[in-house]
Amino acid sequence: MTKKINTEKNLPKGCKECELGVIQKITIDLKRNLKRVKKIRIALVGQPNSGKSTFFNSLSVHKVNTANYYGTTVEYHVTTIFIKNYEIELIDLPGIYSLNYSDLAEKVTFEIITNVREEFKIDGIIQIVEAVSLPHALLLTLDLLTLDIPMVIALNMFDEARIKGVEIDIKLLENFLGIPVIPTVAIKGENTLKCILKLIAILDKSDYLESSDTTSFGGFIKEGNDLFYRASFSKEELPKVVEAYKKLWKSMVKEIFDATNCHFEKCKLVPACLMNIEKYAPNLISLANVRDEILKLKSNIIMSISSYVFSTSRPKPTFEDIIDKFVLHRFWGYSILVMVLFCAFYLAYFIGNFIADKIDIVTDPISDMVDQWAKSYGLLAPLITGFKDGLLGGIGIVIPYLVPFLLFISILEDSGYIPRMMYLIDGLLRPLGISGRSVLSFVLGLGCNVSAIMSLRGLTKYNERILAGIVIPFVPCSARTVVIMALVTGTLGVLWGLSLYLFSLIVIVGVLFLINKLSRFSLHHFMIHIPPYRIPSIKLVGMKIWLRFRTFVFTAWPILILGTIILNYLSYFQLDKHINNIFSFVTVSLLGLPKETGIPLIFGLLAKEYALVMLYSALGTENIKSIMNDLQIFVFSIFILLYTPCISTIAVQVREIGLKFAVISILLSVSTALLSSFIASRMLSFIL
């Protein structure tokens, strides 16, 4: 029998409604009776940073990344959950302010919810609304209502809104909009399942798709409606006004739809047709004035609804205002920025070094023991020692530095500080052809270049997207940070490690300056929402670290182990010398490095941290200083830092900015790496 879950009371004892165990239990129950399962598709739609991904994570086994800034999600994520007799495909969509999309990420959402993408027919929508900014979210609500798709509003972060003194009359809001409104706290999983159940209840009713008629704009005026001439509406009028608004939107869209053969043919009647009249239907330009009148009506409806249902009693200035005074200060702002980045690096190194030392105490004797034991196994010895080198390399070298660094990146992301960084840095970046909006991608690049390039979808300007896409691989990602911390900081000191970050920054500025001089890109107006400060949740930070860390564990680590095994066999059959000889012109003649660095550099193409572990393996010791001098260590690190993006980054570059620009980026990386390493090997010989 299928277990029915209608309310919280029916949940298994000790389980909150959000817990995965509940969903999984229902899944098991339903597998017994799959024939009766109905399939539906529910989209999570909302403005950026409203908590859609957190809502998604509270119901899904498959977790996605979340953060406290606008534009964390740039592509859709799908999961399947089983509730009652429904198989629900839940889709987490990128944030969208209204159906008038302006960037590639918003376009994905637009196309899915308006059924342009036929493979995604949406049966229901849950609009995730950041409760504290309800009036702003109503901009999207009114647009979504015109789609005639069954809908529920999740008033998310309701706890935070209460703390901030926000009061919302939920019953009245439901009355005005004609749809259910449920307060939720997605981060704790509160009421997230309830939203799904409510939507299912609506879908169960046969008359849920009762579509409201359209009405012509002219006819509407003739009937004596004075909606366009009034700034506010009474409580009694508002439900009718909302209905009238829906009809008007549709009539305008229909008019365009009938008069043109534009690409909206595949769409349902959506407000975006009206939004883009100038662009797509210049012959109907006169409708632009009508559109502006309707927009005015829309804002008047929102203001009226807000005045009845939304109130705030927040004392001014708030704690946030006081913090902002320092964080955005002309002097203190930049000082804090430098301090935050320095602390993140230094603490990550300090913690990483501490953990690495402790791990070494345990792993060194094990390593020696395995080496001794493996000698008697002849041809299998390289396999055993290679496996050991790769395994212990991950445990002793990569993990100690990677995890603390990811911890600080995650805290930074969730605190709300990154958008403020964008504001501070925007002015410095403009002469280089990119805006503060790109800063987000560059900061994400410190974690992983792949996600940084993906985030460029949030940029509205094509040129800016291309420029940032070419340059992001120069940002030292967490893999390169592991190299810097373990190799440079560990052997030469913190200042030398930091100098590599400074060097990267100089290279990035130089490359941007050069490309901008050659192409003279123009910029779109800088405009971003600044989210409130939030104390990062331990649960979310832990999840984010795991999401990034698992990429290393399940993808990079096995390849690393395989790589060390291959290297050991190459060495066993003395083939490594031949390969190293091929690259000796670059490694030995040009950069003055030991010949053995050739193979590690090849593996570094797959992922930068491989180069480090493979170097240890190729040199046969973790005491690098016994084989390489300080200058060679520094030059090797500069080369690793810059020479070509890793293979995953190249693949994403090809997809996001195209093959041509990906090739330009690689050529720039290789030439910059060769040039700067060569100069460093000659110039720094006096110091190191």
Partner: protein
């Protein structure tokens, strides 16, 4: 109009072009904005859209598209 000043409150009197785009960010005619900060290079300002409980960082260039009107503090309340 006088240059935008930190701490002052303005009403959006008119949006000349790209109304739907600005609306997405809560910049609608007749809404009140409060300028919290102006960047050191005077290129951007940081403001609060009062009715929407939203904060925005925005390029000062948008004043080509938006006409603001200064209002006194007591009007906000």
């Amino acid at each position: 109009m006088d240059p935008i000043q930190r701490g002052k409150i303005y009403k959006i009197k008119q949006i000349i072009r790209d109304k739907p785009y600005y609306m997405n960010y809560g910049l609608i005619e007749n809404t009140i904005i409060k300028v919290i900060d102006i960047s050191s290079d005077n290129k951007n300002f940081y403001l609060e859209v009062v009715g929407f409980n939203r904060k925005l960082a925005i390029a000062i260039d948008i004043l080509q598209d938006i006409i603001l009107e200064e209002v006194k503090d007591d009007k906000e309340n």
